[in-house]
Amino acid sequence: MPEISLTQAPAHLRHGSNIGQPLTRRDGVLKVKGEARYAADNHPAGMLHAVLAVSSIARGRVTFLDVQAAKRHPGVVEVMTAANKPPLAEDPDAKTNPFMFRLDLLQNDQVRYANQSIAVVIAETLEAATEGAALLSPRYEVLPARVGLDAGESFVPAAVGVGNPSEMRRGDVEAGLATASKRIDATYETPTQYHNAMEPHAIVAAWDGDTLSIDTPTQGLAMAQGRIAGLFGISPDKIHIRSPFLGGGFGSKGLISGPQILGIMAARLVGRPVKLVLRREHMYGPVGHRAPTRQRLRIGADGDGLLTAIDHHAKTASSSFDDFFEPAADASHTLYASPIATSHEAVRVDTGTPLFMRAPGEATGSIALESAIDEAAWACEMDPLAFRLKNYAEVEPISGKPFSSKALRECYAQGATRFGWSRRPLAPRQLRDEAGLLVGWGIGTATFPALMFQAEARAVLRSDGSGLMETGAHDMGQGAWTALAQIAADGLGLELDQMEFKAGTSDLPDAGIAGGSAHTATAGMAIHHAGAAVIAKLADLATTDQRSPLFGAGNAGVVARDGRLFRRDDEMRSESYADILGRAGLKEIEARGKGAADPAAQSTYAMHAHGAVFAEVKVDPDLGQIRVTRLVGVFAAGRIINPHLVRSQIFGGMIWGMSFALHEHAIMDRRSGRTLNPNLAEYHIPVNADVPYLEAIMVDEHDPHVNALGIKGVGEIGITGSAGAVANAVWHATGIRVRRFPIRIEDLVTPAPN
């Protein structure tokens, strides 16, 4: 923490001029002009192209690669295999912290999943490298692939997500179920999903001795730097990573992946800069995915519609060689007042290791929980919104802690009004449009924890009156360049055009990770504290100098605004930054600040963002074709730094939610363990024509506990609630409860027996 922390000052004192403004993204013009330089746009002199050769089997070993044929191909410079790869300083299968995942870096001939890298071909051109990879014609010793949730013995993981207990309970669920007058016992299935960021994982790596220069998209610059340093046995400060823009990450770029490291190894092997870009189909394996789940929900309610029990059990899958367990059942911890029990089990399958994918656990769990709550409401013959309000959690159900803030009632009320929910008939299959299509209305509750990690920022004030704020933050398209600059401008008491904001490179202070919907809060608080600290230094210069109009204002304090310090109790007395620094003979002053969660507040309060999503679908009664026609989401997520960018973020999340309910499904070949649809033609995601009229409304929420700026996250919450709302709308339209996602035409044309 800085020496002087202004976190106790009322928030309005130094904020509001930039924070809260709906600015368009500051990097927007660069992007529309094609001038924003993404990793793969970099072409250093002498650069070679590397292409992965990947395994077409899911389990076994490589017995032969025709390296000679590849090398004979004109333009091919080198073929990197297990036989000639440069040595690593660390076993890529070693795990020394929970954020370390095992990487496949050509250490042996073993194949652990389809699309695992088995060689890298390096050539003068992309075409030559691609052809060289094809010429390798690998042969394998094949073992049977373990595919799907019934692949083998299931076990209880030691932890799910990041260190969450696998099982949790509060209250007596069995007693609650036994005494319930209405009971739901339903099993829901969610599929394997892939992040499919528009920008594939890419790296341009150049070695100069033991100094390494890298362009690669990452959601965590410092963690990537640390991982690379460990693997190559060099000091992190020898590694310079540039990651100014990401074409989407969604968690798949949170930790540096195997193929990116292979690009660095290839550059070391050939002694020239190397570019390696994943092909779309290569992204279905080594860069993470959302594991499938099978979730059983048992819910009890009494005669008044009060919940007596929620028992949420989730089965999921991890890879054969590493641990990541989608914490799906944990979604039931926070929303509804009831005795709660959650538990997980898992199997091991021959896939790449699943990883964090936008709202990991929350998204998978939410669609099952929200469907089950809807089923319970129907069993109680209650309107699903009224049922949710009846069981509104005034304290966090799993912990009993009060919420730091929770404007969910407001979300329900505003959303219901905007949507016209009061006109909804209780029973399904009652609404038709003018053309005879079935119409259904559904609701889902959204929730996501308000997390914070750790970040640092550096603030500078210069004698010309300008300022600088630096933090190694990451803009994945969510708008960090803009929102964090807005916080920085307010922190420095300057207008945006009077200050410079630097982010996106590894030589800047560590901004933590752009994940967990925590980047704005974490990096924002670091910026806020750095600004406060540098202003405190400046104030000290002024208030102790007899020549300053602010002399002696040390007790009254000063306010920083528009490049001037004002005496707090007498705004007629002020002095510009330039004058203060000039008189002190200083060219610039600097200070650092940190952002981190406040453990005292965290132990006292449950901290979550909330929302309510209302969906309308239309279904062809004969053909089962589903179209989402309206989505209205109302969210409460603390202070909104930039309403324009937040709305876009929420839109994106809501579209992901609808995609979860109706589109995304990676289909695994049960015989080979390969993904059958590893491309954007057959792995369905919504295109513009699929996306309906969307509304995203943010309700005011002042949260004095999450952090001094009152920021919660908005990156992931949009998926939760939305997926269930769409699924519930399909039920309301058709009367058919589909419990396997995505909901398909066949589920409505030939429904499974209920």
Binding site: D620, L623, A689, E746
Partner: protein, 110 residues
């Protein structure tokens, strides 16, 4: 997933000639000759379409996970015949099931 094309020649309220083809149900486009024969000489209407659709899929067997296509194909055929009997619309809609459909009421073109 499944597609159908239908052409009907209707004279004095009776189907004189019918052509039916299905897509997405075999390794090639599938002409439903048995269904065409059923329609010949009958009055157009839901019962006739359903009988024709059942005949078109009479020998169909699923492979793998596509049992539903047999029912879906019959429903698509009924829809295609219904649209064909209604005549070529003044404004031809986007392809059936297209999200680009702009005519009110996607039933018309789905």
């Amino acid at each position: 997933m499944v597609s159908a094309a239908a052409a009907l020649r209707i004279e004095q309220g009776t189907i004189r000639d019918a052509r039916l083809a299905l897509g997405g149900v075999a390794a090639k486009p599938w002409r439903a000759r048995a269904a065409e024969d059923i329609l010949q000489g009958v009055r157009p209407g839901p019962d006739a379409y359903r009988r024709a659709a059942e005949a078109a899929l009479a020998g169909a067997t699923p492979s793998g996970d596509n049992q539903f296509k047999i029912e879906l194909a019959q429903r698509i055929l009924v829809r295609a015949l219904t649209l064909a009997a209604a005549g070529t619309p003044e404004r031809v809609a986007a392809l059936p099931a297209s999200p680009f459909s702009t005519l009110p009421g996607a039933l018309i073109d789905a």
